[in-house]
Symmetry: C2
Subunit: 569 residues, 2 copies
């Protein structure tokens, strides 16, 4: 492709309202055009990267037995009513619209329910299993804000796969093979070394899932890594032992209740009482599905993790206690709860971060009052067991190994869900086995955000000069800068490279060499070749890798071999 013919133009500046680094780079380099926050056009350069990523994903999904299809973007309300996920309070990213006769339709933010509805018609017998289908589909999510460029769009491309298995063994096997396939994908995309499989909490219908997290400064996620192991946890579920705080050597003081009306937040409280944050306590009250009130307390510098509390308490469902309930069990308005003298029917769970402290603060269960110098033994009973019911944070210890976590900023590039039979039970999706007996299908779902991955790569593989694509995803392998009257030689080289499978963007513009070099760097084409009258004097060209400092002189007749070897073609 000749640069003078290419639709794309580079530009000096991204639009002022574009705050994300990935979109700024991609706009300046001519890969995307911003339509509105979270909605982008992919130009002839951008679509080449997108298609390269899709093709790698496609090949790896096909390799594990995936079959491609394509669902619809318009979805019926009835498809989602069954699971309750039509409700805007349950799913807050719906875009909705209407037919002329006022029939409500939704724009696909996910295809889980839709694909199950469709697959049900295709799977009735054990003979029809296993089946694994996937698609590359545009998803629409009505995000309140959209400031992460193509890493979190309102309209974006996702690969989503769904597996239907006859039993747990078949299901587990496919689930594992998907992890391997995903890791092959990320390796081929050039981000394999920086991408980890993390254990994560599940969504609807599942207890846990796995995420694929890529180290990325612009990422929205945090991963907890156990050093020198391959154990990675999503921040929501990382098991955590609190960082040390031990004042057990202090002299025990007598409890006092201090008036402190309307003091909001632990920092303010710590200042007001002149004690370290670590001596404050956060107490949260919940109600479970049976109406039992559960009190959870963590050291003030932590937050209660509801999922962990659910596991610790065995509750199926937790919701914050109502104001009425708070008043009833604490005798105080909301904001002054502690685990002091609560009625016997309240179940109390104390986090391990509560251990080893003396003279601590907690809500006095008295409106406007905070208790200080609260102590185990004296004011509250020391529990038989402490729990891990907190969100992990930087500095925490991995309980099993005792190692302090390495905390890594990451972007989620993939997510796989193991539904077991939970979702098929919910949606009544079954088959008849060899004996004619009804059995629920084992289900899994497997996503890769295609446009998001492109954004993550743009964030990671770039420098102050611009982008820097891996050859497997780059729109072109080579940026050929012709300088001076070298058209004939340049075009001959393009022809030879093209014949060898090398994709070349040939800059034939009548502009300064510096502009060509700057564009080659900004666009992030893996190799730049310069051909000029000077290089032609000794029948050579200059070749420079995008991430290399120095160019190399290569004889022009050896240039094709040199490049194909570098590219591993």
């Amino acid at each position: 492709m000749k640069r003078t013919e290419l639709f794309v133009k580079t530009r000096k500046d991204a639009p002022a309202n574009e705050v994300s680094r990935n979109a700024q780079l991609l706009i300046k380099a001519g890969y995307v055009h911003k339509v509105m926050a979270g909605v982008y056009v992919y130009t002839p350069l951008g679509i080449r990267v997108l298609e390269n990523i899709k093709q790698i994903v496609r090949e790896e999904m096909d390799a594990i037995g995936g079959q491609e299809l394509i669902m619809s973007a318009l979805q019926k309300r009835s498809t989602w009513d069954e699971t309750g996920r039509w409700d805007d309070d349950t799913v807050d990213v719906w875009f909705k619209t209407k037919l002329k006769d006022d029939t409500e339709l939704g724009l696909a933010w996910s295809h889980e329910e839709a694909i199950i509805e469709m697959i049900k018609e295709h799977i009735t017998s054990y003979k029809d299993l296993p089946q694994n289908v996937y698609q590359f589909q545009t998803k629409f999510r009505n995000e309140l804000r959209s400031k992460s460029g193509i890493m979190r769009g309102r309209e974006f491309v996702m690969k989503d796969m769904y597996s239907c298995s006859v039993n747990e063994e078949q299901h587990e096997k496919f689930y594992q093979s998907s992890i391997d396939a995903y890791m092959r994908v990320f390796k081929r995309l050039g981000i394999g070394e920086d991408t980890f499989v993390t254990l994560a909490s599940g969504g609807a219908f599942t207890q846990f899932s796995h995420e694929f997290q890529t180290v990325c400064a612009a990422g929205e996620d945090i991963v907890f890594h156990v050093p020198s192991t391959d154990q990675y946890y999503n921040h929501e579920i990382a098991p955590s032992q609190a960082s040390a705080f031990d004042n057990s050597g202090d002299e025990m003081k007598a409890r006092e209740d201090v008036e402190g009306k309307g003091i909001i937040g632990i920092e303010e409280l710590s200042k007001f009482l002149k004690i370290p944050v670590e001596l404050t306590t956060k107490t949260m009250l919940f109600e479970d599905e049976k109406g039992t009130v559960i009190a959870a307390a963590v050291r003030g510098d932590y937050n209660v993790n509801e999922e962990k509390l659910k596991n610790a308490s065995g509750a199926e469902m937790l919701k914050l206690a109502s104001e009425d309930t708070v008043r009833k069990v604490t005798g105080a308005e909301v904001g002054y709860a502690g685990v002091l003298g609560l009625p016997e029917e309240v179940k109390i769970f104390l986090d391990d971060s509560m251990k080893g402290r003396k003279n601590v603060e907690m809500g006095a269960n008295k409106t406007n009052y905070h208790a200080i110098n609260v102590n185990f033994g004296a004011d509250i009973a020391e529990p038989e067991q402490f729990y891990d019911i907190k969100d992990a944070k930087d500095g925490d210890i991995h309980p099993e190994t005792g190692k302090q976590y390495e905390v890594i900023k990451t972007a989620e590039v993939g997510n796989i869900f193991n539904f077991g039979t939970q979702e098929s039970e919910e949606t009544d999706f079954y088959f008849t086995n060899e004996k004619g007996k009804k059995q629920y299908v084992h289900l899994g779902s497997y996503g890769i955000g295609i446009t998001r991955v492109m954004g993550v790569i743009a964030e990671k593989m770039s420098d102050d000069k611009g982008l820097s694509w891996h050859a497997n995803v780059a729109p072109y392998h080579v940026y050929l800068a012709g300088i001076g009257e070298v058209e004939e030689q340049a075009e001959a080289l393009v022809a030879r490279l093209t014949e060898a499978g090398v994709e070349v963007l040939y800059d034939d513009r009548n502009v300064r060499p510096g502009d060509k070099f700057a564009d080659a760097d900004l666009m992030g084409i893996p190799y730049r070749i310069v051909i000029s009258q000077r290089t032609m004097k000794d029948d050579s060209v200059e070749v420079k890798g995008r991430t290399e400092q120095e160019a190399e002189n290569v004889k022009i007749e050896e240039a094709v071999t040199y490049i194909t070897k570098k590219l591993d073609l």
Copy 2:
């Protein structure tokens, strides 16, 4: 691909609510799944056909210098406000939705305004031209009814291309090359011989366009063909001379006004008055952009064609005259207008179908009254000129050649628009020429309905047994039916065929031969190969083309050559 592994199942019946032949066939054969009227899933079989069609279109668009990109489905209101096409009265197929902050968004029913908005940023100088970009994109159209299967979906895939040229010459050249490219596409899709380029009326911003119409019984269009020529006209613009009706030999009678209140329609009127329909007259009153009242009259069995009337009258815009205007110029309520004694300021246009008649009926310009026995000379002046201001219909004559039209039922598979500079003037899309002068870009737009074409092929290339794809679009080239214990030989043949580039669907199911043959026909795979113990006795297989009556015995070692030759691989 093994049939036991293929996700797809054939079925005996299509859903009862599916009335279109194409969708019935495609559903029964396992290519699509119906989500709702006008919205379909493309299964692993269906997507293969779709991608084959797309690839042919892609290659031909690339060959004439098209560059692929991908726009967004979500569009801003402001993009369409400029041309007035955000308005639901102007464009009645919008699906609309909203961001959380109530910002209105539209789902792309077209990308004309959106792509111009984007391209404007890329084209500022003559050096940036020409540019031709295209995309395969999902379009959303809120059709009131959707009963044509995938031939007219509410969600469908379209290839739309846009050309930007520096002047008329460059523009015309590209426009012509697109016609050639389109015809190559339709030829490769197997419908070339039945597809015509027709002259058609334009949409917004253009006087005329070309349509690509394919002969199709289920089509929604009618094409007027001048026999033994390559002149084809869309029904909206076919020049027409009325079919003969001549009673000029009758004795002239005196005009009478007959009371006939509330008689609706020409048929009823003809019965009431006991005269042939051809002796009735339709008179329509319009107002042009200057407020001039225009009366148009056609023989009762015709309808007034507004576009033709606009051309005849030179009006830029026509709208039906208001009730007030009708009352003012006719002195009667709406429904009783004729061209009898109208005020001088009314411009009268009579269609050529009015010629050669005697004693005709027309509105009496008197509430509840119809005039009969109206005659030129006696009651109304014979005009200097008759016009062609009617919709053409079956039986009409092509005026230039005097030949009676051949009227063909067709489906539109492509449509190209020559905007000239009309749309760029409207949207202020210009470049600066060599002399630094501002000039408007010449624009064209070029569409092919990808899913629609698939539907048209399904309609046309099918019989009572099922579909019958052209090898260029078929999901597989060969349906290999293994009968009895021949797995080893069958798999060896699959391997050899695959190596030679033949795509094989191998039916390894444990079902009756008849079921396999029926599915091969229903799915419409171009070649069926049967391998059984019987055929293996003389080391052969049976090969049958989908449209052939008889199978042929082919030695198994010659099977690959035989098939690749048939397929022209």
